[in-house]
């Protein structure tokens, strides 16, 4: 295993935290490794060079920063400028100033470059992904066809246009004999062909709810939930920091109501049989709890980055973490002690007290035999012989209101769970079923658009997509916290690296929520996988505001979550999170990675067209951006 020195990080700008990141690695004149990726890029002297110099890569500026240089007015590319491959090894016949394009006039000769042959392999004509300092979603260039082939289609590449190639899909039953791409699965014993072996089953019964009322006793009858209004008083005994609670019911057609900041969206789900991740769980269908909060002084909980406003404008209905279009919303509004809104105990008190109320409803749901609108069977499976993959979900762990409760007693509950921050943010492995049974109760707040709320986890599209994929062997879902302190981030990331190594995975997808501070860990996690030779795909909100100011050479397969027109974090809860489309793109990109199919480097700047081109390739609906006033 190639030992690589951990990179040193300084800190970077982050609206949420104090940090500022900057990379301290080679990023100027080219290294020998980099130059191979840039042979056809313009050759620019990084510095003044004198007559008689034999040009080597060390004399040339790294093309990766050309866009920044052009933006800053430092560089004007010239029409008669030569490419890097044309100038390497030639001799300078006059002194040349820094940052000027190299033209034939200053050289003793120009290298002859023969046009590439038509049958050249695609991975040689497409630039290998360079360390991407600003990764947006790269263009997927392949699709998996029903005939078990990956179709590689190069729309336009340097000197080659319109080539189509078919490559057998690894591990697929239809994979014909022939030179298969070198992939980990190819080494697996022939006997194991990804046959499904079910370890455990979870049945989620979605029970139809058609109405909710706040009344004098708690009950569920004929599809109607009634909640005893006295519970709002009793619940306060759960935590003295919670000063008052109020419940009201918001019907789908009456959402143009003012709401204080949305702290969470939480389903009503309860165990009927077995532990979390197995047996039977009942989930109320058509209704969710929504927690909102202010402190006694009227200050929004986790003020700055709060989402108060008209509810119909403040939530991306239909996204995994949010209420669906036709859901009835039970709003639980908490007032917590003065000045505790940005502490750990304050917001947690609100979650605890709401959970007390939800528990009363859960207890009724356990015995309510209403209409089952959907029975969802979730399986923890092994598909030995398929590529072993793991999903890594980085979750908030900076303390204050950035935390998560892991594995509570009840699905999506609070009681009985351990807080991620208290666990030291170390990686914790859950089975896909445990995740889908509500093992995570989110305490995340600031930055409502990019944070995953409790409902997100119980129906996380990536978990569902990976678990269902017959070509993969999803061995588990790792949750890893994002600590506040940079040194701790590195420490946690190293633990994750060792875990990934010991799991012997063939690929992984790493996701993060939020942006900025958590991107420091995110990129380290990607590096931990990358340096162990594990194909890795990163999934995050980046876009304009959240561009990764740090990159590393492994961050070459990145999937964008943004849905804001300005590319900013906005105040619409759940807007820029993992959706089905994001998940589908990420899974395909992982397959390409593992199959050794190149992924085109992303353009320097975030561009939603790239994301939609990928959507189109995969037959996914277009990613339509939301105008939230951040566009400028």
């Amino acid at each position: 295993m190639p030992a690589e020195k951990p990179k040193k990080w300084k800190i970077q700008t982050d609206p949420q935290d104090s940090g500022r990141i900057k990379q301290e690695v080679n990023d100027m004149s080219l290294t020998k490794e980099q130059v191979a990726e840039h042979m056809k890029d313009p050759a620019i002297f990084c510095c003044r060079r004198q007559k008689g110099l034999k040009i080597s890569e060390a004399d040339l500026e790294d093309p990766a920063i050309f866009d920044d240089m052009i933006d800053a007015g430092l560089l004007k590319l010239s029409d008669d400028g030569l490419t890097i491959e044309q100038v390497l090894g030639t001799t300078l016949t006059t002194d040349v100033e820094a940052l000027t394009p190299i033209t034939p006039a200053v050289l003793d000769h120009v290298n002859e470059i023969s046009a590439p042959a038509a049958d050249e392999k695609p991975e040689e004509t497409e630039a290998a992904a360079a360390p991407a300092p600003v990764p947006a979603a790269p263009q997927i260039t392949t699709t998996t066809g029903s005939d078990g082939m990956i179709h590689i289609e190069i729309g336009k590449a340097e000197k080659i246009e319109g080539i189509k190639l078919d490559v057998p899909v690894f591990g697929g039953p239809a994979g014909p004999a022939g030179p298969a791409p070198v992939i980990p699965a190819a080494a697996a014993p022939a006997a194991k062909k990804g046959e499904k072996k079910v370890i455990r089953t979870l049945t989620k019964k979605h029970i139809k709810i058609t109405d909710v009322e706040i009344g004098d006793e708690t009950s569920i009858k004929d599809g109607k939930i009634t909640i005893d209004k006295k519970l709002t008083e009793l619940a306060l005994k759960e935590d003295p920091l919670c000063k008052s609670l109020a419940l009201d019911v918001i019907y789908p057609d009456k959402r143009h109501v003012y709401t204080d900041t949305i702290m969470d969206v939480c389903p009503i789900a309860t165990k009927v049989e077995g532990e979390l991740g197995e047996g039977v769980t009942k989930v109320a269908d058509g209704v969710v709890f929504m927690l909102t909060g202010v402190d006694e002084d009227g200050v929004q909980v986790h003020e700055f980055g709060s989402s108060e406003g008209y509810l119909d404008e403040r939530m991306y209905f239909g996204h995994p973490g949010c209420a669906d279009e036709n859901d009835i919303i039970i709003r639980c509004h908490a007032v917590i002690a003065s000045k505790t809104g940005m502490t750990r105990p304050g917001p947690f008190a609100a979650h605890k007290c709401q959970d007390y109320i939800i528990q009363a409803v859960r207890d009724k749901l356990k015995t309510y035999e209403g209409e089952v609108v959907r029975e969802e069977v979730c399986e923890d499976v092994r598909r030995e012989g398929n590529p072993r993959v793991v999903l890594v979900k980085e979750i908030m762990g900076q303390g204050a209101m950035h935390d998560n409760v892991i594995c509570p007693n009840e699905p999506c509950g609070v009681f009985g769970g351990q807080k991620n921050v208290d666990c030291g943010n170390v990686p914790i492995m859950l089975t896909p079923n445990q995740v889908r049974d509500g093992s995570i109760h989110a305490l995340t707040c600031i930055g409502p658009a990019t944070k995953e709320m409790t409902r997100h986890y119980i129906r996380e599209p990536l978990v569902e997509g990976l678990a269902a994929d017959p070509e993969l062997d999803l061995i588990g879902v790792i949750f890893v916290g994002s600590p506040q302190v940079n040194d701790e981030k590195m420490w946690v990331s190293e633990r994750l690296g060792s875990l990934l190594e010991s799991l012997d995975v063939d690929g992984c997808i790493i996701t993060t929520e939020g942006f900025g501070n958590n991107h420091i860990d995110f990129i380290q996690h990607i590096g931990q996988a990358g340096k162990r030779g594990i194909p890795v795909v990163g999934v995050s909100f980046c876009a304009y505001q959240g561009q990764l100011v740090v990159g590393n050479k492994y961050a070459t397969a990145m999937v964008e979550e943004n849905m804001d027109a300005g590319g900013f974090e906005n105040n619409i809860a759940g807007c820029s999170c993992i959706t089905r489309e994001v998940a589908a793109r990420a899974i395909q990109m992982l397959k390409n990675r593992m199959a050794g199919v190149d992924i085109k480097p992303a353009p320097k700047k975030w561009n939603n067209d790239v994301i939609n081109a990928n959507n189109k390739l995969l037959g996914l609906p277009e990613t339509k951006l939301v105008e939230s006033g951040t566009l400028h």
């Binding site: 510095c47 240089m69 820094a98």
Partner: protein
Amino acid sequence: MSTLFRFPLKQNVGIGAVPCVIEGDDVHRGQLLAVQGEGLGSNIFSSVSGRVTEVTDKDISVEPDAEQSPEYEKLKKTEPLDLIREAGIVGLGGAGFPTYAKLGKPFEKDGTVILNAAECEPILSHNMVRIAQNPSEVIAGMIIAMDIVHAEHGIIAIKGIHEKEIALLRKKCTDPRIRIATLENVYPAGEERAIVRDTMGVLLPPDQLPLAAGAVIVNTETAYRIWEAVELKKPLIDKDMTVAGKIRGNEEDKLIRVFLDVPLGTPVSAMFEKVGGAENHGLADTYGEIIMGGPFTGKRTSLDAPVIKTTGGLIAAECFPKGPEKIGLLVCACGADEARLRQIAESMGSEVVGVEFCKQAQPVKNSRKCQNPGHCPGQVQKVLNLRKAGAQAVLISNCTDCTNTVMSCAPQLGLPVYHCTDGALRAVNDKLVRRMHKHAG
């Protein structure tokens, strides 16, 4: 200001010396004050006759007699390497590495001793004066070093612009093993690995010493003091130096003055008084700081600090300009380090909002060394980073070539460039380190 002579116990790379005198002792010029401890170090001698007034764990102070004689107590050893060690000679170019240790391992074959006569820091010029005055002795010292390490070759590395000194050395040097190699007039032509590269064609990695290329480098004055130790049995008690800058009543032609054989331990103030008179310790009414060393790598000192073995320059710098509110630092391995740049930024009244290191400035032990001294790897990304961090100007410590690159991008980005050498160079009305002339060197 004190007229006491002060002798710090640690004036070298390695450990400090151990006092062998006590308060009240009468001492002579050339008498041992502190003996080299166990390990890498050097003896410390009194450069004056007088009485020991204080011995602390840091230094020994001597009240000099009114009358001083140039005579000194002679060294006792007989063999050259022993004499060098006894004399307490260390690298006098500023590094302070004990010379006996450097010469301690003879080459098996094909070794080279390089005389470092680059004197590449601006302003400093005492090495050239010494060569002009004692060319034969400098060469003789170099030959002693060659003999000690069994070197088959000798190279005198000197900038091509010093035509007079080169002619003199050619005339005086009759040893066929020695050749003269000329260097470009850029900073850091005298950096050890730059010299090895430019005279022997070998580029050493940052963590290797010239020894890896079969070379030992000896500074000009070190060679001269080796000759003194071996031929005259003289301990290291005197030092050559350049005194420059904002000196009182100083005329244009006296902005830079060279003093040969200044007794070690002399207070810094006394050196300025020698040029500018007693008033304000010989300094102009206003000045920014006193630098000990050259403009690139010198450090801030005080008027009551003593001259030590590694003191090469004393420069009274120009007043600091008022800097912008926010400044970014670009640190080069060949010039001022981060701490020094921060000190300058503070004096300019600027807040440091970003620190970048030249890509070639590789961490080696506690400091940084340049991968290829004097050959710029490109600085645009670093300057862009500093601008992104909010810098309104940049303060840099880069070598001549890298500074040229910074000048080709920072001004276009609206960032004024300040250089760590500005204060010193302005004080002597010298050209600032900025863009290079088309035909530099």
